[in-house]
Symmetry: C3
Subunit: 313 residues, 3 copies
């Protein structure tokens, strides 16, 4: 068990900024929230009278829903603001939107935006706490945390774990948050994908590169499979889907060479038959639904720690 520390940050913007101790604190707090969603009465009063806003500039059902449930199970008041109905469409600048939300005495803003760094800009200009729910291809810290939480739950530890992240590494905020968190906690991380979709310098983060999933899967404890963004295919960097599936899709045959206790993860939603065959995504190696369940516990933990810190500040 890690040395007990207090959460001191106003915001959660990315795992790059966090220390090993801070990540451990979130994971331990999430552990204690996990059973709340199993109760008959799935509600604790921790955030009663706090206002949490979901400010989503990109459409999302699952992340928005997960945060909304986490906040409601903590008894917060939750407000959803989606880009479509936002006054951004009236030409208001991003900063004005932020300042206005601030003026409404919001405690925590959960923000998703297509531009990398947008939540950081928001965090600097408001007293409210900001949680990054995905910014461009930069970070998606609560996804990284729930992935790590799930690995720890299934494998009992992170240190020394052989984790392969497979897919379009260049454009993936999920990959980036996983890498930052896993490396800090001592995992051995390999990124795997077509050459055109792996950033040149990425080894500097303390990870390995592989261009063959067939090879990497043999020694993996965990394979975290990224979602293929079909809209990215236009750019020419992406091989044909057929070629991609052949080399980086996971089917039962490929699993024959893998460890019996290999854990397969995916942030969802799955493109069935692309990243994973249905037999694999519904099979015994898959922990995809545990990730969804753990997502709520991790988000409750983050909301709770941030709200606690605000109380003291």
């Amino acid at each position: 068990m890690s040395k007990k520390i207090d959460w001191m940050r106003k915001d959660l913007l990315g795992l790059e900024d966090l220390s090993k101790e801070e990540i451990d604190l979130i994971l331990e707090t999430a552990e204690s929230f996990r059973e709340v969603s199993e109760r008959a009465v799935k509600k604790v009063p921790a955030l009663r009278g706090k206002t949490v806003v979901n400010l989503f500039f990109e459409p999302s059902t699952r992340t928005r829903t997960s945060f909304e449930l986490a906040a409601k199970r903590l008894s917060a008041d939750v407000l959803n603001i989606a880009i479509q109905t936002s006054s951004v469409s009236k030409g208001e600048t991003f900063k004005d939107t932020a300042k206005n939300i601030e003026a409404m005495k919001i405690d925590i803003i959960i923000m998703r935006h297509a531009a990398s760094g947008a939540p950081h800009m928001l965090a600097r200009s408001v007293k409210a706490s900001v949680i990054n729910a995905g910014d461009g291809s930069h970070e998606h810290p609560t996804q990284g945390l729930l992935d790590i939480f799930t690995m720890k739950q299934k494998k009992g530890k992170i240190k020394g774990l052989n984790v392969v992240i497979v897919g379009d590494i260049t454009h993936s905020r999920v990959a980036r948050s996983n890498i930052w968190g896993l490396v800090k906690l001592g995992a051995e991380v390999t990124v795997c994908g077509p050459k055109t979709l792996i950033p040149i310098d990425i080894e500097k983060l303390g990870i390995k590169i592989s261009y063959s999933l067939k090879e990497s899967i043999k020694t993996a404890d965990v394979v975290n499979v990224l979602r293929i963004q079909h809209e990215r295919q236009q750019g020419g960097l992406f091989p044909s889907i057929r070629e991609y599936v052949n080399r980086f899709g996971i089917n039962m045959e490929m699993l024959e060479e893998a460890r019996k206790d290999l854990v397969i993860m995916h942030p969802g939603p799955i493109n069935r038959g692309v990243e994973l065959t249905p037999e694999v995504s519904d099979g015994p190696h898959s922990v995809i639904l545990d990730q969804v369940t753990n997502g709520i516990a991790v988000r409750m933990a983050v909301l709770y720690l941030i709200a606690q810190r605000r109380e003291k500040a």
Copy 2:
């Protein structure tokens, strides 16, 4: 009063499946919830800490609103997921959506879908309870229940009641749920409409067919008027609106031949001047707004019985 039974079903998918006793139990429970919405404090703690999701694959204001209010007045946490923002648009399969919602530890999913049988499929694949809020032209059980509740409220009984259902019987889930429920409770049901819009075999359900509303209305205790779906007119089965109004629209003149205590119902929203003239829809025979009020009580009852059963299971 019916023999007291316990509610044993995980889901409410249609009135076809229910026994007379189960329908009676819902109606009696609804009776006791009716006064909650009349109180100054319209709230009871029965579903505190439960999570209810409105999962609507077809747009709806009134059914969604009625369920949302019912759930909130029972103190549940309510989440709205509409198709527009759902990850279905990202290519995720229906089943994956279901499994993901399940993983978020939802207690009750209220689902509307354009495909008949979709809620049944959902119910089989999740541990959460599923309430069918309308599936294709199959069933809309809570509408059927609120219609029956309103008939009983106005007429004191269902057994022996002469109920005429008029309109596009073939494509109406409201008609189907009414028929299943009313026949089980002993009403005399007649369906009435253009020949092209009445299924050939429908008499086998234990009901009569009429092609003349002018005739049927003379002996009716209740006329339940279906909504004309203008979008259906393309198919060629539907007569011109003018012809339809002439034969199946209800105006004051037609009411002269009806019983003085005839009750006129409509699930809403009304096409004014089509199914009913304004004088009729706002007149003394109409109980359309009572249906809306009773809808909340019936939905509270269904949510309550299902939640109670989950507690014990």
Copy 3:
């Protein structure tokens, strides 16, 4: 302090109808709610078990959000109905929508509509209370109230205050509500804008007209700057944006001639560089964010007074 009166109205439709005493009562009640949003637990139980519906026939983020927060901080159950998902799109008449909402035992309907007088029509046909959240170019009473509340907060009084309202007076519901309220409370009001955008007879309301902001700003205590509706420019009444900015936009240079303690207001969202330069909107004269904060207190006060009155009625 004003003579204490009780709130007796079912609805809040406009400031034209209110007496000075009624406006004072709202402002004083808002004063006591202002600190609720500053607390760690931003919630009072005043409206527990009440149902409040946001019925918005025009898109709006900030007004809808402000009302939603106000209602939630009073512990009401809040339902959002936007035109896009409303059954109005199914051809239902406005009145039927209203009657249906009524039948759901809603306590308070907050309504925005493009047609002047729509909330008044609604108020006449339902027992629920109606709050006008903006009707056409007629009134936006809670905006008027929060503007007046903010002026009083900054200047200590309204009586004798020199208030200039600048912009498209003809089409502004914000202007109209400000004028009605300010005149009743004894302010000296001047409207200022291009000749084509000021109604001919408006002096009859007891206010002055100016066509030169450069002149009017010299003696102003408050300038309330209206938002330019770009969509209005088509009509030919509106000068070019460039010409408008030259004559009615506020920049630092123009402020040199103004009083040192001039207060600048704007209902938002600002067209930066049009009505105000960024230096002005973020500068020391601007109280725009205070308006947003005060908006919640004022709306809590209105909801509270109306709910209290319903209790007694």
